[in-house]
């Protein structure tokens, strides 16, 4: 599957339908809380599937995957911060909050990438699933540290008593929340269940975790399409620099992911593409609440517009097939 064909999988078409529905101002909408419910299902299903696979996996590669996922989670946001701060284009607080989203991952993009591979019958390694769990949180730490440094610098440059109160946030509590975030706990827990349960018992769960998975993903992407299109009106507010960042950053993160997947972990092109998607996607579940409290100086409208309105559609439509082709090409070198 390549090029235009990759757009013709039901999940991507439903995403397009969601965007279209919003653009024609249709009254199509999901009941409140349904999107959150569906994403719980998706995380649980992917966790069960991944856990069952990982039970048979090589611990050496699993450990290496975890290590490189952690490194990617730290390095990608630092590159993003340097890009945003280049020539002082974006203020340090917005830069810190935005880049934290890019170091973390979007489970929906990752699941769409799996749908792309499974629809085409392409086998892939299951290690990227555990990498996804690991990459949820380190970027939050980077975002908080960068914002803390910016806050200190700002306090030094202003005379005492002027401007905002510089009081240290409870960073420990914030980090605990990042690592005990619901999506991280559910994904880890479901993986553990998948790994510990007997294969016979897991077969009973297959109708739930495997057979309806693609259909539920379609429903979820329909909602994501509606949400992405809602953000279009904020593009003007975000400005050309940020919108371009929403496309350039996934290209950089994805390229790093292809390198990590192929060269450092020795994955197949399909597995490397999944690592690329981890590198290129931007979180919209675990990171936004952490940044809203941890970096209140940043404007939430910017990071949500970028992650949901720019990077998510870019990855779903262009990134997934492009990184797959890139991984095939790079593996063949």
């Amino acid at each position: 599957m390549s090029g235009f064909d990759s757009l013709l999988i039901p999940a991507v078409l439903f995403f397009a339908l969601g965007v279209f529905a919003r653009l024609i101002k249709s009254d199509l909408k999901f009941p409140e809380g349904m999107g959150k419910g569906i994403s719980l299902y998706l995380l649980m299903a992917i966790g069960l599937k991944g856990g069952a696979e990982l039970a048979k996996a090589d611990f050496g590669i699993a450990f290496q995957s975890i290590f490189w996922a952690f490194i990617m989670g730290l390095v990608i946001p630092m590159i993003g911060y340097a890009l945003l701060r280049f020539r002082d284009r974006i203020d340090p607080f917005n830069a810190a909050a935005i880049t934290a989203h890019y170091g973390s991952v979007s489970a929906a993009t990752f699941l769409t990438a799996i749908a792309f591979l499974e629809t085409s019958g392409i086998a892939h390694e299951s290690y990227p699933i555990i990498m996804m769990v690991i990459m949820e949180s380190p970027a939050i730490i980077i975002g908080l540290v960068l914002a803390m440094l910016a806050r200190k610098k700002l306090a030094k440059s202003k005379p005492a008593g002027e401007g905002q109160e510089v009081e240290s946030l409870n960073t420990g509590a914030l980090l605990k929340e990042a690592f005990t975030n619901g999506s991280v706990v559910l994904l880890m827990g479901a993986m553990l269940v998948g790994a510990l349960a007997s294969p016979e018992a897991m077969e009973k769960v297959y109708p739930f975790s495997n057979e309806i998975f693609m259909g539920v993903l379609c429903l979820f992407l329909l909602e994501m399409g509606i949400e992405a299109a809602k953000r279009i009106k904020s593009f003007k507010n975000a400005g050309a620099t940020l919108i371009s960042f929403g496309i350039i950053m996934p290209l950089i993160g994805g390229t790093i992911g292809v390198f990590v997947g192929v060269t450092l972990l020795g994955f197949s092109p399909a597995g490397a593409m999944l690592v690329a998607i981890l590198g290129s996607s931007a979180s919209y579940i675990a990171v936004p609440p952490a940044m809203r409290y941890g970096v209140p100086e940043a404007n939430p409208s910017f990071y949500l517009t970028l992650t949901l309105g720019v990077t998510f559609p870019f990855n779903v439509v262009i990134g997934i097939p492009m990184f797959y082709q890139m991984a095939i090409w790079y593996s063949g070198l």
Binding site: E165, I285, V287, P289, A290, R292, Y293, P300
Partner: protein, 98 residues
């Protein structure tokens, strides 16, 4: 038979759901035991808030308080504002039936 009511204050706070647990801790610290939370939707400086994800979920907290607790509450909320947190705080006089 005339009904006796008490003059109190009603404080309403619109903010991100990510602040809820911290605000509740603050209420407890200053001795406010009761509050009501609503999920709300809207748009403004922080962008569309439509409860799609945790990052764009706003809440409205309603507190009915005595004039004494009111001062402490407003001071505590002002601390959040000074740290740059996004809170819309407004209050009204109210009559409460016990």
């Amino acid at each position: 038979m005339s009904v006796v009511t008490h003059a109190e204050k009603i404080v309403q706070i619109i903010t991100s759901s990510s602040l809820e647990s911290r605000l509740v801790d603050t209420f407890e610290e200053i001795g406010i035991a009761g509050y009501t939370v609503f999920n709300v939707r809207g748009d403004g400086d922080t962008g569309i808030q439509d409860s799609h994800i945790d990052g764009d979920t706003n809440i409205l907290i309603m507190i009915v308080t005595t004039p004494e607790s009111y001062e402490r509450l407003m001071e505590a909320l002002n601390k959040y504002k000074r740290k740059g947190q996004h809170l819309m705080v407004f209050s009204m006089n109210t009559e409460v039936l016990y």
